[in-house]
Subunit: 122 residues, 2 copies
Amino acid sequence: MSGLDDKSRRDLFRGSLDVMVLAVLADGKQYGYSIQKRVRNASGQTIKAGSLYPLLHRLEADGLVKATWESDTGRDRKWYELTSAGQRQLKSTAADWQAAFARMQALVLPALRQVTNHPASS
Amino acid sequence: MSGLDDKSRRDLFRGSLDVMVLAVLADGKQYGYSIQKRVRNASGQTIKAGSLYPLLHRLEADGLVKATWESDTGRDRKWYELTSAGQRQLKSTAADWQAAFARMQALVLPALRQVTNHPASS
DNA sequence: CCACATATATCACTTGACGATATATAAAAT
DNA sequence: ATTTTATATATCGTCAAGTGATATATGTGG
């Protein structure tokens, strides 16, 4: 039970990385590497560095986050925080995300039950 | 509230189309056009023809579905049904999808609450 | 001092959803 | 009867985005 390779599992949520990053930033300033770990801990989803940094640059270019280099512990890190546009975006995206996935669940769960109970042909 | 353009909403599901198609096929033989409508009705997600047919061909090439041309009402349609491999795939994918979705929800919902209650800087 | 985790970045590659387009048939409208 | 519209499948060029590989630099622990 539950044997998807990493690639398949990742593909499942290809379009949700933005939402997750914005969600992590909702409770305060974070830098890239910490965002990565937080998403990983909270969602089980691994965002690779090669995906994360371009993603953050896109969010910045879109004005959804604001970045500043700061060294709080002697080390330079690029801190990201939501802009007000980012907050609005998170609000509408997260709400849609929630609604859309709930509907998909209504499609997927009965199917899962179906296929779990009746094995079949071919 | 809830103002995502079509593209953003679609991007949200890049990767989940396979699962939805397999889910629809879980309760029996369907042809492409009917799969499209079922997914649309059940999930609110529109799979465009230019996505659906190549997707079905991929599933067939991977041995997850089996296709046969049949004319039940005078009209030729290409009927798809799950293979046993397709059933196994659906079972593991759907289970994973469900689990991952629940965890992601745990990340997104608190963030949504956060951003809904406290407006902020920049 | 050296290995490893931390931290950010870029780029070529690949996958896949899409719009546009083509084709053909059944049904519905005029 | 003819035109239009919905049904039904298919292909192709384009584009966006996640990934692996790779590079670079700094802090930390052995």
